[in-house]
Amino acid sequence: MSLPKGYAGNTATIDLTNNEVQVFPADNFFRDYDIDPRLWIGGEGFIAKILWKDLPEAIDPLGPENEIIIATGPWTATAAPQAGRAMLGCISPETGGFSSGSFGWYFPAAMKYAGFDVIIVRGKAEKPVYICIDNQEITIRDATHIWGKETGETVKLIREEVGERYEGEVRVFSTSVAGENLVRYAVACGDATSCPGRSGGGTVMGSKNLKAIVVRGTGEIQIHDPRGLLDASYNAANKFVEEEPTLKLWKEHGSTTSLSAVANWPLTGTSLAENRKEADIPIINNAACLNCFAPCYHWLQIKEGKYAGTRQLGGHMTFLTVVLRNIGISDFDVWVYLERLTQELGIDPASFTMAFSYAVDLFEKGLITTEDTDGLTLRRGDEEFIWEVARKTAYRDGKLGNLLADGVAVMAEKLGPEAKAIIPQTVKGKPSLQRDAKLQALIWSFGALTNPRGGDWLRLHNVWELAFLPENRDTYPQYIEMTCLELYERCLELLDMPDDMKKKIFGDPPKVDADWVRGLEGKAQFSVWSEDFVAMFDALVTCMFGAATQFMMVGFGPSTYADILNKITGWDVSYDELMKVGERILNLERLYNYRIKGWDVKDDRFAGKLAYEEGTIGIYKNKLVPWDTILQEYYELRGWTKEGLPTKEKLSELQLDSLLDEVKLTG
């Protein structure tokens, strides 16, 4: 088969145990892994196929057999909008199952310009090393002198050592001290800027003695219809800017738009938009990954107080939410500092603050004592103390550091039934980003139940629901001088979704209001549609910060993605075909987790009792959330059995029949 345009053309496998590097052309890669590129596209799709073949049984995630897979797609590094992304894949050290995470800035593009669509790292080096990819030349270099360094210094040292000819030429994807010390939720970070968060990739790199992957790429990517691509991208971007009502807010608030402005988070008290205004942190500049016109990075500088002078390129919602919810501080300076600190240490801010918050609960209930905390009194709200604990955790220092470094699920297991009962929102061993699943709108939390990488909400971040929490449904539209209903009507019309799907989700005729937000109607269907959509653009690979319903109300839909992808590759994929790619990937991941971990309906559950009790605030105040009802509806819409497994018919429909020889399905 001739290689479609848009791919870089090579795959590299690097075996650290045997010090072996292999580079082979994409055709061989596709043949070896049974990949028809049009059915899997790249990124998330390639990762699922690679793990399916390479690791057919459960492994020790920290053992040498685990893999670090970095996969780009045909979209990456082209002139298409938001072309800076790639996916990292591995077996999760938190869950033992499938894991992946999206990251951007400029490493993914440089990797493709160096000629690689996919990099697979296996084995374990004897001593610390980093992998240097200088276009087609790959070397494994000693990293003993860099081991133990935090992120910023690592990037600086490696760039100097490799010899940058101009700043930003060499791109460094590195792990930090948390990864080296095998904190279970360590993240890797690209150029100290963009991390495949929640993937555990930093831990797996640490377990391999792999400090960093470094790339210099000066090549080019062939495009099927270059002028057509430019026109399509130009039109798409213009349409986006004209139609997306949240864009103005987005430039001010980045990914916190949905929380600080849209959802008026927190549900009571001063809205974060106001809070932020008060903090008066100047945004010196907006910055973005390759070809992005909706920049989420804010170059922030803290002006006054004890963090005066601290600068951070970021300003993302996860940090804001976890500071507020888990460590009990509503101060934007602290939020910015936490973002910088966790990036430097390489720890996942969600998993860490959830573990911290859980430890405080346990401490207050007397289930752990000062004997377990090296004499420290655990408490929320004291940021200096929390920074100290974060450092202890990243370095696995003392009893407390080691306790927190294993994460909430291991803590619960270790401390017995009383501790287990109060475990914060966790699914399949991975915590979400805040304690109580009932606090926010339904789809967001539901996403944690079905996410293939465990209890993480990110694949179903649904702004349609978050925007109109009944308590504050006019908070957000007022910033763009619209009423809630006007905005909804406009977005319903513009949303790139077939009419029959709109009817299934929003009713017939489609209508969105507070009743829709409160109710169950259409929520399972919306979840199915969004999951397929997310898996699809994670395969392209492009960014969720431009995607319809995820962080944007209108954004890009499948039609735009199909149009641009066809210009890049020369294919003629349709809306439906593209959505099928997403569904195919989701089904393979589901089956993969079943195959190696046995995960089915019994694992699509929140740990502990909290999620199954009445809510205290928000939509579910004094009410139970019918998780099982919506879950069964979701299975049915997916064409899965009541046990939550794909049926033979479904697999056949998705051209996945061959998997049936490799995995035994019950029923």
Partner: protein, 164 residues
């Protein structure tokens, strides 16, 4: 930059773009307590009035397009000696090792695509006699702002505060 290469070569690349963006990603290479900056600055061929690249070319391969004002390369005449690279004071003449030829910004037939596609209007294409106006106008307005703030915060230059 991706637009530049896609438009001009049919393939996408950053290193072969005809404009260069100098970057300084201060946060990426500093420790948590160090102050640093984030800088992006674009530069490309100035289409000089006295073009050294054209003067040093031994085969007359570089000519001015009178319609667009751009200095363009005639690849039928170019012998690949790279004297133009030596002659250009700005490093705007570049070399593509794959195509084995020099290349420079030729203003995309008078409609620079980088400008057209720039989502934030950070790049603009203006006649050279007024190209400085937005810059100086912005700075003049900034001066007014700063002066007003100074008056407000410190009463500096406020007539009521002047003692005689």
């Amino acid at each position: 930059m991706t637009t530049c290469t896609t438009y001009n070569t049919g393939a996408t690349s950053l290193s072969k773009a005809r404009l260069h963006i100098a970057r300084h990603e201060g946060h990426a290479i500093t420790g948590i307590d160090e102050e640093d900056d984030l800088i992006f600055q674009a530069l490309t061929c100035q289409q000089c009035d006295k073009p050294y690249c054209m003067y040093v070319c031994p085969t007359g391969a570089i000519n001015r397009n009178n319609e667009t004002g751009a200095l363009t390369i005639n690849y039928d005449r170019c012998i690949g000696c790279r004297m133009c690279m030596a002659g250009c004071p700005f490093g705007a003449m570049r070399y593509d090792p794959d195509r084995r030829q020099v290349f420079k910004c030729e203003l995309c037939e008078g409609d620079p695509q980088c400008v057209k596609f720039c989502p934030t209007d950070a790049l603009q294409f203006l006649p050279k006699n007024i190209a400085n106006i937005p810059k100086i106008d912005y700075l003049a307005r900034r001066l007014i702002e700063l002066r007003e703030r100074e008056v407000k915060e410190n009463n500096v230059g406020d007539d009521k505060n002047v003692t005689t």
